[in-house]
Amino acid sequence: MERIAEGLAEEPLVMPDARRVVALALFVCVAYYLGARLGFALTFQPNPISTLWPPNAILLAALLLAPPRQWVVLILAALPAHIASQLQSHVPVSMVLEWFASNCSEALIGALLVRRLLGDELRFDSLHHTLVFIACVGLVAPFVSSFLDAALVVMNGWGGANYWDLWTQRISSNIVSELAIVPVIATWLGSAGAGRRPSRPAPAEWALLVACLVLVDYVAFGLQDRSSGTSALLRYLPVPFLLWAAMRFGPRGASTAFLSVVLAAIWGALHDKGPFLSEDAAATARSLQLFLTVMAMAVLLLAAAIAEREHARRELTHLTRVVLAGELVGAIAHELKQPLGAILSNAQAAQRMLSRGDLTRQELADSLEDIVDQDLRAVEVIRALRALIANGEPERAPVDMNAVVGDVVELMRGELRTRAIRVETRLQSGLPFITGDRVQLVQVVLNILTNACEQMAQSAPADRTIAISSSATSTTVALRFEDRGRGFPPDHAEKLFEAFYSSKKSGLGLGLWICRAIIAAHGGRIRAESPGKGAVFHIELPTARNA
């Protein structure tokens, strides 16, 4: 029995790893072959070296995704694909095998350097990782392996070019290939792309970006030919769309968009179209590769910088939320004693009646009902607190803002009791859902209410009231929070939302700043006014259908 149990326990640990390497090997085999076919198709004849040579980049990307002990499997998987693709192109057998060696040397140099410098995971949402990637994979690996590659070609007398010409062609082609292809594979197949994303654009935005890229790729690289005259400036046409991809779709979207530009530009040049046409094929290829290399670096670094900035903002949002929760923890612990006390008293009452023998079914049922209700009440408070403290991925889900207000009031019940503050809610029933991250919206409401509590610390007992109301139009949901605290000078209505603005001695002054960022990320608006006495905060959010 023990052995069976052990075997069962081990299986899930081993199998996904094995399955993953098999899947990756299959991917390498197929993609390497197709990449080689594509590479041949993108070759300016009679040069022996393609403008874009995807197989090396595909193998390198696969090595980056697997632990080194599996690398031999992946390299062996590439070999049949390599032979099959090269023999079709009538390359001599010795040349085929030597080329495989030089291709593998490039992949191994790049993967080893990245692993040595960055460890297990290469993240394109980190500026540091992206810089290391550009240096090691983009520059060093093609640089070193091109010496070997050019020497092999010269030794075999293939193509008849001289050594330095071959070296130059090989390195410029492979730099573009590595920079354009590895990030796409790594971000789609690895975990690097799934992690930090600036935002989660709607499917409509994806569709729009793809449509724009197709159109722009065509206009920039497929429209002009020699007879109509060419403008070199047209090559910059995709730049705004690449920026769009980098800002909104993260490293994965940006690198994929860039690959489409690379393919379109090379395809156009091969068909004597586009802004790169020069006097001969070699000059065209050089101008193309130089442009694409510079663009690749810019796009990758920009996407990484934006992803990093977004990540920092998200960490800050979480941090301010934890601070907010920390301020409430005392009151929440106090609040939990209410249901716990009620549960205890109900149970002890039932015990007593039972021992006296006068417990009726009705009394027992009533006690049990209260015990269950109070237990759920305690669970609800703990759940809301946990959600507040957890650092989860932001969601995009339908959210009922009335429920958000309810959650916050429940979390703050203890705080409100100790401060003797009444909350009057006038919530419109059947409020339409909005789309967003519930926890972040709880954070906003919690922030506004804790501020209101602070502001009313000196108020007369009769004035300690917060009025919350919700309402909806056909396109928006509106919330209104009114306190009767100290308020603020009229010219501070905007300053409140600036970073490091604080009326408290202890506060960081980031609360309302984060609130505004959260509401803006939900497509809404937040503003404040101080009509003489106290402060009023207004939040407007687009309904789910209009988000």
Binding site: A333, H334, E335, K337, Q338, P339, L340, G341, A342, I343, L344, S345, N346, Q348, A349, A350, R352, M353, R356, E363, D366, S367, D370, D373, Q374, R377, G414, R417, T418, A420, R422
Partner: protein, 135 residues
């Protein structure tokens, strides 16, 4: 006349639970979910004590004790509180309470406090009666 235990707590569930518990132990119970409501119905001639929450809206437990005293009534109080540091703070303030118990309160300690409070009330009533007869 049987002594009466007034329970004052703004939390409805706590109020119900305490009422059930004390009734099960044979106490005569009168429950109020607001201190003002209690003051309106408080009969100083009935012997007994008050079991009150400390943190309540409108009037907190200490203010309630003050309000009863200011009307010239001597009624022993047992406080039940969720505030961790309230008992020590109350001692420092010399709050005139028979007991200050932390929530969630255990039945035997609650009964001991209530019994003590009722005994104190009955004794002070009989002293007052003797004093009254002598004068």
């Amino acid at each position: 006349m049987q002594p009466l235990v007034y329970i004052v707590d703004d939390d409805a569930a706590t109020l119900r639970a305490m009422t059930r518990l004390l009734s099960a132990y044979g106490y005569q119970v009168s429950a109020f979910d607001s201190p003002l409501e209690f003051l309106r119905h408080h009969d100083p001639d009935v012997p007994g004590c008050v079991v009150a929450d400390v943190v309540m809206p409108g009037l907190n437990g200490l203010e309630l004790l003050g309000a009863v005293k200011s009307r010239g009534h001597a009624r022993p109080f047992v406080f039940v509180t969720g505030e961790v540091d309230f008992p020590s703070a109350a001692r420092a303030l010399h709050v005139d309470a028979v007991a200050i118990l932390a929530k969630p309160v255990e039945e035997s300690r609650l009964r001991a406090a209530i019994d003590l409070a009722i005994e104190q009330d009955l004794r002070s009533r009989s002293t007052r009666r003797i004093v009254g007869q002598r004068s």
